[in-house]
Amino acid sequence: MNRFDINVPLVKLLVAKDWQLFEKQLALYVAGGIVALCLLGMAQRWSFYVGSLVLIIVLVSTACFAISNSLIVERKERTLAFVMSLPVTPMDFHVAKLIGNLVTFGVPFLIIAGGAIAVVLLTPLPDGLVVYGLLIFGYIFLAYCVSLSIATVVESEGWNTFAMISSMVLINPFMMVLGQIPSIADNISRDAVVWTTPAVAILAVQVVVGIGVLAYTTIAHCRKPTFY
């Protein structure tokens, strides 16, 4: 059997299993996302800030939740041994977790990011916010990919929690750093989307590194013949 062969029905089963296990929390985040969109839709200054804040909270918690529930909790509650006993290879397991995470985090992430950009472009808000917003979403994406990879590779719950919380908390300093870069900060309040070299470079690094670490962990899993 080739290590790249995927046991598709079992992968589907594992994804469906995770979906059923986390449906409740996921529903909670979707509800939070809808409330945030409604707040944005009120077109008031205060509701815009509160709505944006709720959106970021929902995104960050969805990210942490997806990783923690699908990988860390399974280890902690020792249900992982049960899953490993099913007719799956480590690669099947990894792919199932990747797909599950793409659904639980990726879909809300894309909807919220797309929605937020649309709101900026379609409302009187300065369009310069688009670049700033994309860099923030890019940061969340990167933090998520790094945390997910660490959770896949490292078994220690403490390190995982540390990696997840620290990478997400660092969003604040990151936003401050963005504010210190004149070519990015100065364009936020302009009513035009201006892509400067630092902005493009930061976004490119976020995307490339994010996808890179996920690809690396996937390849590492291809090499693993069994779970232990």
């Binding site: 969109l37 944005l40 839709g41 009120m42 929605g115 709101v119 379609l122 409302t123």
Partner: protein, 388 residues
Amino acid sequence: MQSNQRLHSMDNLRALAMLAGVFFHAALAYSPIAQAFFPTADRSNSAWVDLPIWFLHLFRMPLFFVVAGFFTALQVQRKGIGGMLRSRWVRVGIPFLLFLPIVHMAISADTLHAARTVAHPSPLLGFIRDLLAMGPLPSMPPGTGHLWFLYYLLLFCVLTWVARALGPGGLMARLAAVPPLWLLVGMPLIVLPSLAAMPVPHPAPESLLPQFWAIGYFGAFFLLGAVIQQHPLLIERMQRHVVWLLPASLVLYATFVWILDGSGRVATLSAGHLFLAFLEATISVWMTVACVALGRMLLERSNRVMRYLAGASYWIYLAHLPVLLAIQYRLMDLPWHWSAKLALSIVATLALCVLAFELLVQRTVLRRLVGTSRHDNSPEGLVGFAPP
């Protein structure tokens, strides 16, 4: 078989609500209140038009949402929550994404054409004409247009999943066990804050972002429909109240009209506005409940014409507005009485939509999205956007 019988009345109600929708939009052109904002507002208009349409406005869409809630719950019961969401995606999500740009472009193009060519433009057309004279039109924030119903339907389907995943079990049963009188008093109070936040008469929630008030207002009716599906006895218990619900709603509406005094303008957040919102909320609930109860009493039979209209109602709902506006733009300069223009625009719109339904929908791939199976009497075949 009881559930199938109930299906007939829900289908018939859907067909009637759809017809009421065509009438409502057609009549806006001849309503003094709508003169300021409706693109085909005609020189010939009458306050008599306002009387029925703003009454209709208060329960036409709520009734649609009751029907939608009913069929959504039915679908969850039959196919599970995943099956419901999948079929809603095909029957509501895809049509929404497909028709939104088409409808938007059709109406925009025709409106721009009318703004340039109509001799007796409406205030809105005149405004567009003035803007055109000054240069290129500023871009408008795109909205959902009259397809907002689909947008909220999708949202409510997602919220149905959220509620089932999070909600306490037995909530529906508890709601259904509420005595009818309590429901008739309580539900207006529940939707009151939503309506109080809006001008009178309330506009359509056409923004691309969801609105709290629309979720609260229409969501309450969607929930009512789902409760009725789960607990059909509820609507039977409502039936004995129909005798007073209708006249009482009419009396409340008379009060509403008297306070509104034809101006259509009462400052929001005033005591008068709150009272008007209260009247709106009460009429909304009472008339919607009365319609559902009357439907159960009178419309349980399957009638060929009504079944056809129910099947075609989704398509007619999607297509009627661009067709209607196209007809009414062409009627604007004619020196006819408003009643003739109204009658002609309704009949022509329905005829063209039915023709298009036969030619463009039932014989093409669109049938899967917005059409109906010809020989299928199952709800899957009969239902349009409210059902699967």
